[in-house]
């Protein structure tokens, strides 16, 4: 409702064509990979962009991230993760080889190229741009989302066009739940999983029988995460919800919602908002004196949140997240990743970038193991459930709902005085293994659909 009426028709960054990372020359011809893939091409009928998208010396990936609007900052971070992964895959970087052991250079000997378009975090824009990448560039993979509404829409496009889709940032229970598809895969966890991970931590620190207020963005991610949190806290710790303030994505002001929160008698404020919405609502909650009276909890952490809200507003605040850079102390692969990213971009990667990098690395592993770009072969390779090393330890995809089983990281905001450097915003308080935490694959009604 609050979006610009003309934006729908005039997409802002239509172009941004193929941005190719320079790869070392001469290696494309080496090895027998191209020959084997041509040989295999003969075995399979044409499907989606196969074989047209993978007959040349390179393959194309369509990336849509929001570069404008409420989620622009997170979209840019995500894009950097993708770019680093492409560079590492094309040059055969050690980090990629540790995640995807069969990778040498490129994927099946083919160089990766990609195009980027601005999704504006809007499903229809993302679908339009990706359709173009599929029809014009014969993309073998589409990716990118910083909104579950986009992820769900691209899931459907992927299934219809028979082109693989790996979701970017998407925390909704629907993405690999009721809206799951055979052609879609997700790395970051369910909102339900975040709730199951952070719930016990919150109850332990804040106690039982609390009155809770929620700030919820009005779309699939917001509703499912809010519902999962409420479900956990009310059932397991006797919490009550005194108010749930649902606001549109990109609301310009939160004062009226915050007044309702202030008057609700709540003791804890659970802020499900994401992106700039999270920044603005937390800053304004401070202005209204709410943070002095209520404990703030962030069920699903937003990249850059601590940098943006500033002045120690997140000190003592618990949040569930996919990745935080100080995990480098625990995981060697995380250390390599953080160092490579910091060197290239000049800041410590946030979880959106980490998520994006891992998406491509895991896809590289799936394709190398399939030995072909033929989509059903790649999907079956994903579904084989190989245990892989990642930047957060061992992970694997569940064949039933295409969800990665991975740990959830619980962080707590540091006081400004306790920060060891300017990017040391959080303490990692717990790393909770995904196994046992994640609900059963059919809990949200996932039915994957057909391979062809």
């Amino acid at each position: 409702m609050v979006h610009h009426p003309f934006r729908q028709r005039l997409s802002r960054r239509q172009l941004l064509g193929a941005a190719t990372l320079t790869a070392a020359g001469g290696w494309l011809c080496e090895g027998a990979h191209p020959l084997t893939s041509i040989a295999r091409a003969a075995d399979h009928p044409a499907l989606g962009t196969y074989p047209a998208g993978s007959t040349g010396s390179s393959v194309f990936i369509g990336i849509t991230v929001p570069r404008t609007g409420t989620y622009a900052v997170q979209g840019e971070d995500e894009l950097k993760g993708y770019q680093l992964a492409v560079e590492h895959i094309n040059t055969g970087h050690d980090l990629i080889k540790k995640i995807s052991p069969k990778t040498s250079k490129g994927i099946l000997g083919k160089e990766l190229k990609f195009g980027v378009a601005d999704s504006e975090a809007k499903p229809n824009t993302a679908v339009q741009e990706q359709s173009r990448f599929i029809s014009e560039n014969k993309a073998v993979l589409i990716t990118g989302s910083t909104s579950s509404a986009v992820a769900v829409a691209l899931n459907k496009l992927a299934q219809r066009e028979k082109v693989l889709y790996v979701a970017g940032i998407s925390g909704s229970n629907d993405t690999t739940g009721k809206d799951c598809v055979r052609y879609g895969f997700r790395q970051c966890f369910y909102g339900q999983t975040a709730a199951a991970a952070i719930g016990p931590v919150i109850v332990k620190s804040l106690g039982k029988n609390k009155k809770a207020a929620y700030l919820t963005p009005d779309y699939t991610y917001g509703h499912t995460v809010q519902h999962s949190m409420e479900d956990y806290l009310n059932k397991n710790a006797g919490w009550t919800t005194v108010t749930n303030q649902v606001a549109p994505l990109g609301a310009p002001d939160y004062s009226s919602y915050l007044l309702n929160v202030a008057n609700s008698g709540a003791e804890v404020l659970l802020n499900v908002n994401w992106g700039h919405d999270a920044v603005l609502s937390i800053q304004q909650a401070k202005q209204f004196g709410i943070l002095d009276k209520m404990q703030l909890v962030v069920p699903y952490q937003t990249p850059f949140l601590a940098r943006e809200v500033g002045s120690g507003l997140l000190a003592g605040v618990y949040a569930a997240t996919d990745f935080w850079w100080t995990l480098e102390d625990k995981y060697p692969l995380a250390k390599t990743f953080v160092e490579a990213f910091d060197k290239k971009y000049g800041y410590k990667p946030e979880w959106g970038a980490n998520n994006a990098y891992m998406e491509f690395a895991l896809w590289a592993d799936a394709v190398e193991n399939a030995g072909s770009f033929y989509p059903p072969d790649v999907i079956k390779s994903y579904e084989a459930g190989r245990k892989l090393q990642s930047t957060v330890g061992e992970v694997y995809f569940r064949p039933e709902d295409h969800q990665l089983v991975r740990p959830v990281i619980i962080v707590r905001g540091k006081k400004p005085g306790d920060m060891k450097n300017k990017e040391d915003f959080y303490d990692v308080v717990e790393i909770i293994p995904g196994e046992g935490l994640m609900q059963k694959p059919d809990a949200f009604g996932c039915s994957l659909g057909s391979y062809t």
Partner: protein, 290 residues
């Protein structure tokens, strides 16, 4: 029904409405006088905020930031009118919409290129930080100050429009610019001024609002849509209409949020639709005016 909350929300609606009134006043006098639907108005709001942010970064003075925000956007408005907009007065409305929309994209992307997408904050003056108790609610002190500043700005605009010779010409131009031209008044020079002042109103609102929100290059986008709604409700080209429309819009958002928060912004459009059905010229608009 929680009466304390209702009172708090009604007050908050007033504060939200005051700011919308100022932005919309700028939009409506430009459209009323020049007939140009300025889709770059939201970008003016954003530019005011960023100009103020830069001024604050250099001087640490909020007052300087306020002045810089307003003056910078006034200059941008004048330059825009002289270099581009004036060539579009005689062209079809679609061309005007496209050119101002295009300019808005340019401004937003230039700012994004220069400052990045990470949000920027401008702190309020130290004495206006914190919270004030109004008896029935606790309210951020700076937001109270915003109301005062906006009332002063609206009053200044009112005096300019209704108590000066130039204001008389502007109002006459709104009614019938052809006739004003025929009377030997250089309408186009007035047009340039009106465009600058209209833009300045948005820019000034942008810097006044900066400590309340955190600035991003997209901050003007939703404001633009809302100010269009305000202008339609109040009556296109009507200065008092913009003020009334702004206050109504603020109250709608606040009070609806109390009953059902998810519908707060939707309701705004529902009321606009209702006004268009019952009174197409807007509450204080005059029938037949272009």
């Amino acid at each position: 029904m929680n009466w304390a909350n209702l009172l708090a929300q009604m007050f908050n609606g007033l504060v939200l409405g005051a700011l919308l009134a100022l932005i919309s006043a700028g939009l409506t006098i430009i459209y009323g006088t020049l007939g140009v639907l300025n889709l770059a108005h939201g970008a003016m709001f954003m530019l005011g905020g960023y100009a103020g942010y830069v001024a604050y970064a250099y001087t640490q003075s909020f007052l300087v930031a306020l002045i810089a925000g307003a003056v910078f956007v006034l200059l941008v408005g004048l330059a825009m009118e002289r270099s581009i907009i004036r060539f579009f007065y005689q062209r079809p409305a679609e061309d005007q919409i496209l050119v101002t929309f295009g300019l808005a994209i340019c401004f937003v992307e230039i700012v994004r290129y220069a400052f990045g997408s990470l949000s920027k904050t401008v702190p309020p003056p130290p004495w206006a930080m914190g919270i004030t108790s109004l008896g029935f609610l606790f309210y951020p002190t700076y937001r109270l100050l915003v109301v005062g500043i906006v009332i002063a700005a609206l009053l200044a605009l009112y005096l300019l429009l209704y108590r000066t010779r130039i204001g008389m010409i502007v109002r006459a131009g709104i009614e019938d610019s052809g006739m004003v031209d025929a009377l030997g008044i250089n309408v186009y020079r007035v047009f340039m001024l009106v465009f600058g002042i209209g833009a300045m109103a948005a820019g000034f609102a942008g810097i006044v609002n900066a400590p309340v929100v955190s600035l991003t290059p997209d901050v003007g986008e939703s404001i633009l849509v809302q100010s269009f709604v305000v202008v339609v409700i109040g009556g296109v080209g009507s200065f008092p209409g913009a003020v009334l429309g702004g206050l109504i819009a603020g109250e709608i958002i606040s009070i609806t949020s109390m009953l059902n928060p998810a519908y707060a912004y939707v309701m705004l459009f529902a009321v606009m639709t209702l006004v268009l059905v019952v009174r197409p010229q807007g509450l204080l608009g005059i029938q037949g005016r272009e």
